[in-house]
Symmetry: C2
Subunit: 554 residues, 2 copies
């Protein structure tokens, strides 16, 4: 008798539910529901373009709807009945903290805070806390340098403590009335399980470790002495937080009768601890030691795991290194590039003023070009550099233009630039003892753009494959659900059985590898010079001074 | 009674004749005739894209036609009769040497050489002699370093001795049968005057000084000991060359009865010594000490003069410094940018795939942008750098791109880049004691593109004006003709009377000047680093290695 697992995937604009066969990963039911509020699900403020919030009520309103729809499809397509479902897993965006009261209710439900956007969910891409982030980085550098070594050396404005501190400053009354701040990845499982108080909420180590400086080796979340230096009220909040965050092989609880009824599922179903979309996406793509999972979209998220021998060192410039954040028993490593698809889109849309059809045409033309033949070389920094320079204040660069340079050559140079950026991340991680033997890609670009995949194979000099599932995040959540439901004793066999890659493998062409090796040497020279890594700071200063001038005259 | 002068202007694709009132420069008759042979007047070879020749017969066939047409118009418009014309001046492209026999006949007229392209005129943009040029530079560096100091430090493949030597190598029989090699600027006046032997041809100092390493201070053309080191046959040719080259205040001779009949002009008319188009163009634009004349087209030619006090030093990286090459009694200084209009055209045509209308639109959009606000900065080296780096093997660069960068911002950054290139030339020349107080521009871009002019005014921090005449080269030739015909005792009053600028002056806006001063500092850092001027050669090596790789894989 086949059993099924339910994966629930909270994205930036919509929530997806996926019903998956626990034996083989077959996806038999799927639904998507878009958040009804704001602009494409995001609450914005005209006075502050850094602000991006979401309605927790949207999350819950859509939940029953999306699960019911997916179950209906699973029943129609594969005869799946409610009792065939054995577990639920959840992944979400993050860091997306939600202020809640002592009954786990979002603060925005209280009448006096209903019009206060600070009482809603602070979406991952909210950047209002940029000043607080900089001050947290500065204090940690002085007082707790080890905090920063696990998160690339810089604490981000997108992250948990910066957001909480910013709320404390701009809405002290709200902050005072708030009992706890729950990451969306923890909030949803807690809701499903009917958890009544914040103290009982199981926190996932993924959000805690990557965004809230949680590490069990230093006693969990940052210590109160450190937080008190930011603000004593943060330290008092910290005292109310449970000190253990768990990996996805733990249960957040069991499905409450109320939510069982709402979803049309048996009550008491096991609900796995939540995690971030990218991390469960890596699970759905078959992550394991030696495999890099690249989730490629407008930007990329790179996820790897290393056996937890205690030997994984700090890796300078890598966004996050967290025990158990991807797979229990392994160290999860997260890196990323600030812009990949966005750069190609920028060139096609802004510069060439074309659309999808032009991108297809340019791809076909660029495919006929030989590596190195254009004489062009670019830096992929149009949106800054996330890994390994961790500097959003960097910009793009292109060199080698002649009077004969074509737009297809420029387009290809931009593809190559992002591949060189990807290689820089891999090289940095390998320098610190984590080997990468193959790459599994997820996302539309990987599925649609063969030139992109071949260039990456040639530049990275590693076989490139594409995840079999087009919904790796939801599939990863379903794998966590299968584990919670007891379909597997450990996650490794679940991944082996439920994930896979497509048949087509992009293998490096030795002729191209040799040329790209030379081009990469030049890329690295530009990277280090303009990124401020090299001895002389002259070139880096040019890039920075241009930005200073731009801000001054704008 | 008004008198008139005839200017004859041999361009790359056509010849122009202009009838000018000697009292005020009024242009009363004008005609253009395109050379009939080859591709747009140029003889090409499918096996060698460096080759560019012209038919001397084209030059003569078009001559009677164009002069008669201009005279007809002058008669119709201003009642000009043949006897009202008092002199003729000639400007041509160059270095464009023509091999001739002992009767001054082009070698291509001899039956055995009729199919040999080496027996035709070697057009200025013929680059077949690139190896010979490099060897001439190398030998001069070792043996006669002062030769190079007057021509920017590098002898070009476009120039006289490189072309002759190449011919000697690839067509030794032809070279042996050739009595002399005449620059087009000297050949045309000699033809008009019926000069019977090469020894009697008056050579102009403009071509001799800028292209053939002629300098009266070292005895004229290069010495035979030097040339013999290249090839003894070049030394023997040198022995047949008269040792004095003259400025345009000298006469090449008097119009022969045959050509007088052909042109419809009185015989015995004075014909001035010829000069290059850019140099007589500067005359037609009103060049004088303190004034830089910029002839702006696909590339630019910058012409200045300095009083001949013997104090004008060598200026490193400046193409040519020749006594009398522009004005008698002054040192002529020639500089230039390898690509100006060509860069804008490349961006509009190759990258944006638009036409003139798009360029107009981009110009309008770019005009609304503030200096510095795009954060972009470019190097104007898409076609190498003529002055001050004298390196055709350089390429373009752009830095500062974001995901929001627009094509109008890129277009403006390219305009600015060429202005920064122009400022670099001015700064270099001023460092050596030649002051530039104002700039007079010629060419379609200056006349049509107000944004271009304002950016140049702001970057150069000098008033920018536009030559009154749209045909400054032909007007300059006519001024030489007026001088030869005795309308003026010296050239200065002729220029004062016959040239002028348009009323519109582009004045620097102090607010923009301040911003561009900062941007130029960054430009200079990139310029020196990638141009190999700065201490470290790292960045320059990146640019060079990309070209090496490009050539290798192509």
């Amino acid at each position: 008798m086949a059993t099924y697992s339910l994966g629930i995937d909270y994205g930036t604009n919509s929530v997806r539910a996926l019903v998956v066969n626990t034996a083989n990963g077959a996806e038999v039911g799927e639904a998507v529901v878009h958040y009804p509020s704001g602009a494409d699900g995001i609450l914005l403020a005209s006075h502050d373009h850094n602000l991006a919030r979401q309605s927790p009520e949207d999350y819950l309103k859509c939940l029953a709807q999306v699960v019911q729809a997916a179950l209906r499809q699973a029943r129609a397509q594969a005869g799946v009945r409610a009792r065939d479902v054995i577990g639920i897993g959840v992944d979400t965006t993050g860091s997306t903290p939600i202020p809640v009261d002592e009954r786990n209710q979002p603060m925005c439900r209280q009448r006096q805070f209903r019009k206060n956007l600070n009482a809603y969910a602070w979406l991952w891409k909210d950047h209002t806390a940029f000043e607080e982030a900089a001050r947290i980085t500065a204090l940690a550098k002085k007082m707790r340098p080890h905090f920063l070594r696990k998160c690339g050396g810089v604490y981000s404005s997108e992250w948990y403590w910066a957001k909480l501190w910013h709320c404390l400053k701009v809405a002290p009354d709200l902050f005072a009335a708030t009992q706890a701040w729950l990451e969306l990845e923890d909030y949803i499982p807690a809701v499903l399980c009917g958890v009544k108080t914040p103290a009982e909420v199981v926190r996932g180590v993924c959000a805690a470790g990557h965004k809230a400086m949680y590490n069990r080796r230093w006693g969990g979340y940052p210590d109160t002495a450190f937080l008190a230096k930011l603000d004593p009220r943060l330290a008092r909040l910290r005292q109310r937080m449970n000190t253990k965050a768990l990996a996805i092989d733990h249960k957040a609880g069991r499905l409450s009768p109320e939510w069982a009824a709402a979803l049309g599922l048996p009550d008491g179903l096991s609900v796995a601890v939540g995690a971030f979309d990218a991390h469960l996406g890596a699970v759905g793509a078959g992550v394991k030691p030696g495999t890099l999972v690249k989730i490629i979209g407008t930007s990329t998220c790179d996820i790897m795991v290393a056996r937890n021998t205690g030997a994984v060192p700090d890796i300078p410039g890598v966004c996050g290194i967290v025990e158990g954040s991807v797979l229990p028993g392994y160290v999860g490593i997260e890196a990323g590039q600030s812009a990949v698809g966005d750069i190609f889109r920028w060139f096609v849309t802004n510069v060439c003023q074309g659309h999808d059809a032009l991108q297809v045409k340019l791809t076909a033309e660029a495919r006929r070009l030989r590596p190195g033949a254009s004489g062009l070389l670019a830096l992929d920094w149009n949106n800054g550099n996330r890994t390994i320079l961790v500097d959003p204040q960097l910009t793009g660069l292109m060199v080698g233009q002649t009077l004969h340079t074509t737009r297809a050559e420029i387009y290809r140079a931009l593809l190559e630039a992002t591949a060189f950026g990807a290689l820089t991340i891999i090289n940095r991680i390998e320098e610190y003892g984590v080997r990468i033997k193959r790459v599994v890609c997820c996302g539309g670009i990987a599925e649609k753009n063969e030139l992109f995949m071949q260039i990456y194979a040639d530049v990275l000099n590693r076989p490139m494959t594409i995840s079999r599932s087009a919904q790796t995040c939801a599939l990863g959540a379903a794998i966590a659900g299968a584990l919670a439901g007891g379909a597997y004793p450990r996650i490794e066999p679940a991944i082996a059985a439920m994930t896979g890659v497509k048949a087509k493998v992009y293998s490096p062409l030795p002729r191209h590898v040799a040329i790209y090796r030379k081009l990469y040497q030049q890329y690295k020279v530009l990277h280090d010079a303009f990124g401020g890594v090299a001895g002389s700071a002259t070139m880096a200063k040019v890039m920075k001074d241009l930005l200073v001038l731009k801000q001054k005259v704008s």
